[in-house]
Amino acid sequence: MNKVVALTGNEAAAEAMRQINPDVVAAYPITPQTELMHKFSDFVADAVVKTEMILVESEHSAMSACIGACAAGARVMTATSANGLAFMWEVVYIAASLRLPIVMTVVNRALSGPINIHCDHSDTMGCRDSGWIQLYGENPQEAYDNIIQAIRIAEHPDVRLPVMPTFDGFIISHTLERLEILSDEEVGKFIGAWKPVHPLLDIAHPVTYGPLDLQDYYFEHKKGQAEAMKRAKGVVLAVGKEYGALSGREYGFFEEYKTRDAEQIILCLGSASGTVKSVVDGLREKGRRTGVLKLRMFRPFPAEEILSAIGHAKSIAVLDRAEGFSGLGGPLFPEVRSALYGRSDAKVINYVYGLGGRDLSPEMILSVFDDLEEGRITDREAVHLGVRI
């Protein structure tokens, strides 16, 4: 039974963590994630969760403690943002390569420098190749829903990979919105009992975690990770469907909004898609066939499904909230264009927007649709949307 509440993104994420009731949480505060952990620490202090909360001296230690606890046999969660995630870097990869199903919420924030605490996706895009599954949420509702589903996806025996549910810093993390939450019993039943796999604390069955892995085995272990990432696609869909039956909100790889007959389509991640949808609504009233594909799952990348969903369009704009410094634009763009390459006639162009929390206004989105319709923009170079020249 859904209960209607008003929560910020951070509060919604903390509420999901309370209902999941993980065995161990190790975290370090960083804006804009701080409030999430404040709230969860209250739950620990008030003993409404049985979680062992480890307060560490850095994010590197936070992820290291999560890895140790998860290998020991605990259900483990954490959260971070921006430079905190960057500081974790090497251990983020180790969590994935040890195949530990840790769930880490990342509240998206621009990486320094110059120092900035507001939203962009440079933090999670930076670790796109770390072997973590990434789910981007549009609003507090999706922040909550993604975290609960992330537990099931991560722990599935065909997957056994860490999952990073994300949502936009401040824009979502600090904005009060209406959302529906499940009961504690429903969440407990949905995620199921934690079943540790090869726990270090099972002294009757001793195992070694993290031995040296050289030319003769490392490659096979990486192949195993890559295959698990491919299998995650089916699991994400199955979990999203089951969650839909429970909550009324079914999840897939992306949300298709008026794309079926659209000639101009914007593809984007996170909170921006809400604004794009409202612009699409306005344009549809004027008879312009526009749509938006809101990508939820960036890792693994659903290339075939994106092709099926938007390959028919005349032109597509990929909105990146991160700069890739390749000279070709942001990190989302090349993957979308690769997915369509040779199999779609759509012209695909790239816009980098919203860096450091810069607002994305409806007027900007309108200008993108105008560009697409009028064929003004070359597909050889990214446009930096809203930057002063």
Binding site: H198, P206, Y217, E220, H221, G224
Partner: protein, 120 residues
Amino acid sequence: MAREPGYKELPIGGLILEAGNAIRYKTGGWRTYRPQVDKDTCIECLQCWLLCPDCCIYAENEKMEGYDYDHCKGCAICAKICPAKCIRMILETDPRGMADERGRYHSKSKNSSSVIDSKR
């Protein structure tokens, strides 16, 4: 030689699910210097056995009975700690001299020509 396992056959995450398997990893090839023990001057204090980081000293009936050369890395801790100065380190490339396959010899017999001072 047996085929190495494919990626589907390996435990996930590079885990090793079997305990006590380091014995199968032979590290003797790492050695530059090889320890040898003079059983004529050895006082059977077994400090070498106690301190060897790779458990490569054979101790039988409370007596030092030479080396496991399959695993000894030639670190020379045994030679350094030996209070009787009866352990010497010789270059791997040197002939074994009068020592047996466990590196035991008797100083009354002829020595190898390239003995390294055990105080090093």
